[in-house]
């Protein structure tokens, strides 16, 4: 039961993007299409789960004072792994996510979970927490990307839904990210209350 709630709280109730407002930079920066959002979300999920596992394993070894720097080193290691894997196997996605891959290191979601959850709980709960939060993050990014892609270029995951010249280019560009996220947060708030 508690494992299930560790896993499921990340989706709506404690969604890192819509409710906690963490990890805003990649959220706004890479979601010009649903695929980019999904790719970024899954990359972050991987880092989140692996970092949670390692942090919860070594939590008793690390002195309290150097806790944060040690967490950052652990996270940076996994980010480098993701970076190299993605460059090798998914070069197109790597190209379009660009700078935001190394910036997973400073994503507050990852450090936040390591500090708030993994450093206090056992390995199994930490895995579920990381997975839930990561998938919640991916869900938010994919949703945001899908809405922007649909409104902006009339496509969804690259498939044409309606002719491109009816799309509003604004939504693919920078301002669209802020505006769509604003409305999505308002909707989620409303749903959470009901």
């Amino acid at each position: 039961m508690s494992q299930l709630s560790n896993f499921s709280k990340g989706f709506i109730k404690e969604n890192p993007v819509f409710i906690l407002l963490l990890g805003m930079c990649p959220t706004l920066g890479v979601t010009s299409s649903a695929i980019n959002g999904l790719g970024m979300g899954l990359a972050t999920t991987f880092v989140l789960v692996m970092a949670n596992i390692v942090v919860s394993m070594v939590k008793n070894v690390i002195p309290d004072k150097v806790r944060i720097p040690s967490f950052i080193v652990i996270i940076a290691t996994f980010v480098t792994i993701v970076q190299l894997l993605m460059e090798g196997f998914l070069p197109a996605l790597f190209e379009s996510l660009g700078l935001f891959i190394p910036l997973i290191v400073v994503n507050c979601v990852v450090l936040g979970r390591a500090e708030a959850f993994a450093s206090k709980n056992n390995v199994v709960s930490s895995i579920f927490d990381g997975l839930g939060m990561g998938l919640g993050f991916s869900f938010a990014l994919t949703l945001l990307g899908a809405v922007r892609e649909l409104l902006g270029s009339g496509k969804l995951f690259g498939f044409s839904i309606y002719p491109e010249n009816y799309g509003m280019l604004l939504f693919v560009l920078a301002p669209g990210a802020f505006i769509v996220l604003g409305y999505l947060i308002a909707i989620i708030k409303k749903l959470n209350k009901a």
Partner: protein, 190 residues
Amino acid sequence: MSYLVIIIAAILANNIIFMQFLGICPFLGVSKKISTAVGMTGAVAFVMVLATIVTYLIQKSVLDPLGLGVLQTISFILVIASLVQLVEIVLKKVSPALYQALGVFLPLITTNCAILGVALLTIQYEYNLLEGVVFAFASAIGFGLAISLFAGLREHLDLVNIPKGMKGTPIALIVAGILAMAFMGFTGLV
């Protein structure tokens, strides 16, 4: 490349917040009052320039000659984290007044992606050291411009009558979107 182009591009056309989406967390977090926004800008400018210098030297004198490009992310974030600690300690001792003004914001800066982002961009754009410093400083100014504009607007937002569901973050994000639209007008400048 002329320095003027770098400065105008970093402040207006490629504004770090509205066009590159770096440093959004402090942008949303500390922009409720103009005074805190200015304090944050000061801290960011200070650390950003220092971090760019140090990471540049590390990249050119350690990572490149030894072929350790893979370690870029790890080494940069470590340097930035320890630099922030160092700055905090030094400021506390040397200039208590400045520490009073910036102190609260310094720990937040470690996880500010604008700092790491600018350090990485300086390497990516292949700037030399001086260009990198100018770029970092201009980016910080751009950050300050965006965050103070936004803070000014947000102080008024509290008093406006808007639908209940839109209060707080949603309306702030939409205002940010409209500001970003205004900044898009600068795109043709460079």
